[in-house]
């Protein structure tokens, strides 16, 4: 799990935040928002949506901080909230038909990917375009599981804890997602 903050300092910050210390919570936000953002951005491929989810997630974390079970890893709990909010936002976006209208509009992104040299550092836009291209056709669940397992490098157990799915269901979804993505990537003409 990606967390460089020493566990005891984090525990202290959580305890302070549980007592209502907003400054302590601010430190937690500063240390963890990039991880939450990484998941949300890779899921939506949109900076605005990702920032909205991060903001909403930390507000929800603050509101439910009293319910936090200290036997659980804070990041796992945070990811769980982020993932749920990603699904919620995707649903509301779907209702407004905005996300899928954008996802289907691949023409400009294709040109962008093909002119990209992957050896250089990928920018947010390039990453978004690439993920959009390869994850197109996957269900939200499959995309999320693929992101958590293969991009965020979480273990199957951690993914199960976050998504609330069984190990076997995760493996099945992962199997389909990987097959789909790798076939697409193999056909993608990019210089590596």
């Amino acid at each position: 799990m990606q967390n460089n903050k020493p566990a005891d300092v984090l525990v202290q910050l959580i305890e302070d935040a549980q007592k209502g210390d907003v400054t302590a919570f601010g430190k937690i936000v500063r240390d963890h928002q990039s991880y939450a953002y990484a998941i949300a951005f890779r899921f939506f491929c949109d900076e605005d949506d990702a920032e909205d989810v991060v903001q909403e997630s930390f507000i929800r974390i603050w509101n439910h901080l009293q319910d936090f079970d200290s036997s659980m890893k804070f990041t796992t709990w945070m990811y769980k909230i982020v993932v749920n909010l990603c699904y919620d936002k995707a649903k509301s976006n779907k209702r407004r038909m905005s996300v899928f209208a954008r996802l289907n509009d691949n023409s400009s992104q294709d040109d962008y990917i093909e002119s990209t040299n992957i050896e250089q550092d990928l920018t947010n836009k390039e990453t978004a375009a690439l993920i959009k291209r390869i994850a197109d056709g996957l269900s939200e669940k499959q995309r999320m599981i693929f992101l958590l397992r293969d991009i965020q490098d979480l273990t199957i157990e951690e993914v199960a804890g976050i998504t609330g799915m069984s190990d076997s269901a995760i493996k099945t979804n992962l199997f389909f997602a990987r097959q789909n993505i790798r076939k697409k990537l193999a056909r993608l003409e990019v210089s590596i």
Binding site: V29, Q33, I59, L122, I151, L174, R182, K183, L185, A186
Partner: protein, 248 residues
């Protein structure tokens, strides 16, 4: 394992997840099978792209601004929650009215009070009209502007239903009692003498009640003049009463 099974496996599993025996099998098979070798190369290429995606950690446009906006939102929510708890008592009180019986009871009390008040006002007006008829007061004089519209029921009635006989009579009579000239007053007092005790008492009550109202003082420019006249009325009334007593 057939070629088809291996190809499916290659697409769906990560090479680093293979155990040593699987790796050995794969190595041997790829040396002999050109199709599987091509697919293995494709998968390896795909994995390299995925590695690049993994390395490219998405960056927040303005980390500081995002943190600030989260904290600001939390503080704002906390404040509104504090305000909400402060209003809890009021909310509870208002919630009482969600009970049907309470709503019915309150409505009934308000209706009863309103009806009683209107009935009393109606009675007042009725007695004024009767007094007015007995005193022979003519409707040739109206200074309704000294009555603040809407403050009392007759004022309200006069304001919105100017033709209401009761309100008009009330206002005119009270104005007349205050502002009438001395000679008119004398005529009125002559009639006053003819009144029975109860009617006279009623007339005095009406006059005093109106004069005691604070708004009359605040809203009448010639209040001093009215006060003088009122004193004169009182004096004359006493005279009449004394003579009445002497006559008796």
């Amino acid at each position: 394992m057939t070629c088809k099974e291996l190809q499916q496996f290659l697409y769906s599993a990560r090479i680093e997840d293979f155990d040593p025996a699987e790796r050995e099998f794969l190595k041997k098979h790829l040396a002999d099978c050109e199709t599987c070798k091509t697919i293995f190369q494709e998968v390896s290429k795909a994995d390299r792209i995925l590695d690049r995606i993994k390395e490219a950690t998405p960056r927040i446009r303005n980390e500081h601004a995002l943190t600030e906006s989260i904290i600001a939102e939390i503080i704002c929510n906390e404040r509104s929650m504090a305000d909400a708890s402060a209003n809890k008592f009021l909310d509870r009180l208002i919630n009482i009215f969600s009970i049907k019986f309470v709503r019915f009871a309150c409505g009934s009390v308000i209706l009863l009070c309103g009806m009683t008040y209107l009935f009393m006002e109606y009675n007042d007006m009725k007695s004024i009209v009767s007094l007015e008829q007995r005193l022979g007061i003519q409707h040739d004089f109206n200074r309704a502007s000294i009555v603040l519209p809407g403050v009392n029921v007759p004022g309200f009635l006069y304001d919105f239903y100017g033709l209401s006989n009761g309100s008009k009579a009330y206002i005119e009579l009270t104005n007349k009692l205050i502002l009438m000239k001395k000679e008119d007053l004398q005529a009125l007092l002559n009639s006053y003498k003819t009144l029975d005790e109860a009617s006279r008492k009623r007339l005095d009550e009406m006059q005093n009640r109106f004069l005691k109202d604070g708004y009359l003082k605040q809203n009448t420019k010639n209040y001093e003049e009215i006060e003088k006249l009122r004193t004169e009325i009182e004096r004359l009334k006493k005279e009449v009463e004394q003579s009445h007593y002497k006559e008796k």
